[in-house]
């Protein structure tokens, strides 16, 4: 459970770091390029989850050129004799989950950035703030609801993922999804399997309740200010 939590949190964070610049570029691109760029980001999302995970597995497998390159770098940097590999361990699970869930994060961020009133950014830059300061003190606060939404719709499926840890994880990468699969499909322990699935449902509700509480508080605050 704790292990699933860490993996899912780390996945969400990495997705956010990669997705924000992507969403920014797509949202600020010339209007004629925007639909094409957006389609490019969404299209992998429409291919089967199993297909994508399998494709990633063959590209990152131990005999693939990419893995051999990483092995060379790893050995020369750390000086160690053994290379843990890119997949069949926790790293593999995280790469896989980021790969699968990236579009989930890009979409809400793109929507928010596209609607964002650019005069705020211009004002901030005109008044002498640097690009970084504008980013952290203007752009991020203004798109915070979308950041939260993106994190939620990335975190929930990553937390309950089944296919990715099964195909890309090691034998000890037992996420809650694999645990449920084990209990239901192999151990025939349905009560435990159901309890674990319900834990996922409770977690989902808790997160959604938290989000609506936060957004209500935000709305009330802006009302007070106005």
């Amino acid at each position: 459970m704790g292990y699933s939590l860490w993996i899912a949190l780390l996945t969400t964070l990495i997705c956010l770091v990669i997705a924000y610049p992507v969403a920014l570029v797509v949202a600020f691109a010339a209007p004629k390029w925007r639909p094409l760029l957006l389609l490019l980001v969404i299209l992998p999302f429409w291919t089967n989850l199993l297909v994508r995970t399998y494709a990633l597995k063959s590209v990152l497998g131990s005999s693939s050129p990419l893995s051999q390159l990483a092995e060379g770098i790893y050995k020369s940097v750390t000086g160690s004799e053994t290379f843990p590999g890119l997949i069949l361990n926790d790293l593999g699970v995280i790469i896989g989950l980021v790969y699968v869930h990236l579009p989930f994060m890009v979409l809400p961020l793109y929507t928010a950035l596209e609607k964002l009133d650019r005069s705020y950014l211009e004002a901030s830059l005109d008044l002498g703030a640097s690009q970084w300061r504008t980013f952290f003190q203007v752009m991020v606060p203004l798109t915070l609801p979308a950041i939260i939404a993106g994190c939620i719709i990335t975190f929930i499926p990553a937390f309950g993922a089944l296919v990715t840890p099964a195909l890309l994880g090691g034998t000890d990468s037992l996420m809650i999804g694999s645990l449920i699969e084990d209990q239901i499909k192999r151990a025939n322990n349905w009560p435990l399997g159901s309890a674990l699935s319900m834990l996922l449902v409770y977690a989902t509700f808790l997160i959604l309740a938290l989000q609506s509480w936060l957004s209500e508080r935000r709305a009330r605050r802006t009302e007070l200010r106005a």
Partner: protein
């Protein structure tokens, strides 16, 4: 490109461009490599040894895969039909009528969209076992539990799409129809459904891809004789990696991607019409 980049021209910053290029490479390289290697004339997965379509032939001759593919198609078509009907009906009810518990129905409708797939799968499986659903029915009746499960998670998406379209509906058309003596049936057939057509098509395509692509829920509900293509491939993947999987997956990608592009295109033109 002769003018210098303005402070807000993020698209023209090289650091950001590189990030986007890297992200797109990350998303596409694995899929493209897999598609390329589906034409590889070698039993080894990773070495390129010339062009061949032998793996497509081998998929074609693999009766277990073809059987699973047929199951997938039967399930996807039936589930799409039912999910579109139920989803549209619900959307119209939620739009047209006020009734006690409406907010509850709306909230419940959103549930399958947010609840983790694996929990839905476990719930469906236990439901069918608890009501003692007969597991020895002949084909295609043995696919019914999967069809029901797919309808259950796909129709809320149809409802979403149809409701989005309904918000743009001009209510005076409805009043005019009733003033001119049309009944509810005539109004639905001649006014509302033609107006909803793009949403119906988009919703149906969405339901179709969702059903065709679903692995997790089907994995829990399916029985020995009722496996779908993704479930079949998953069970084979766990034992060993076979090159013909590349070919089977490439077929699946092309199929779902073309359906998805069609759906996106229809939704896009719908939004443009709504705006104008």
């Amino acid at each position: 490109m002769s003018t210098p980049a303005g402070p807000l021209d993020y698209t023209r910053r090289w650091s950001l461009r590189l990030t986007v290029a890297a992200a797109l490479l990350f998303l596409y390289v694995p899929l493209l490599v897999m598609m390329a290697f589906s034409f590889n004339d070698s039993t080894r997965i990773i070495r390129w040894e010339g062009f061949s379509t032998r793996w497509y032939e081998s998929v074609w001759q693999n009766t277990a895969l073809i059987e699973a593919f047929t199951n997938s198609m039967v399930i996807a078509f039936s589930a799409t039909l039912l999910a579109t009907a139920i989803g549209t009906g619900l959307a119209i009810c939620l739009w047209r009528f006020r009734f006690p518990g409406k907010t509850l129905v709306e909230a419940v409708n959103g549930l399958p969209i947010v609840i983790p797939e694996i929990s839905l799968g476990v719930a469906m499986m236990i439901f069918f076992k608890q009501i003692n659903w007969p597991s020895d029915l002949a084909w295609p009746l043995n696919l019914l539990p999967i069809i029901i499960a797919h309808v259950a998670f796909a129709f809320p998406f149809v409802t979403l799409v149809v409701r989005a379209r309904l918000t743009g509906f001009d209510r005076s058309l409805e009043e005019a129809a009733f003033d001119l003596g049309a009944g509810m049936g005539l109004f639905l057939r001649d006014i509302l459904l033609p107006y909803l057509k793009p949403a119906l098509i988009a919703g149906a395509l969405l339901a179709f891809t969702l059903s065709l692509d679903d692995f997790v829920i089907t994995y829990f509900v399916s029985e020995v004789g009722s496996t779908t293509l993704p479930v079949k491939i998953y069970s084979q993947l766990r034992f060993k990696v076979q090159p013909d999987i590349n070919a089977a997956f490439t077929v699946l990608i092309v199929l779902t991607a073309s359906i998805a592009i069609a759906a996106a295109f229809i939704l896009n033109t719908m939004q443009k019409k709504n705006k104008s």
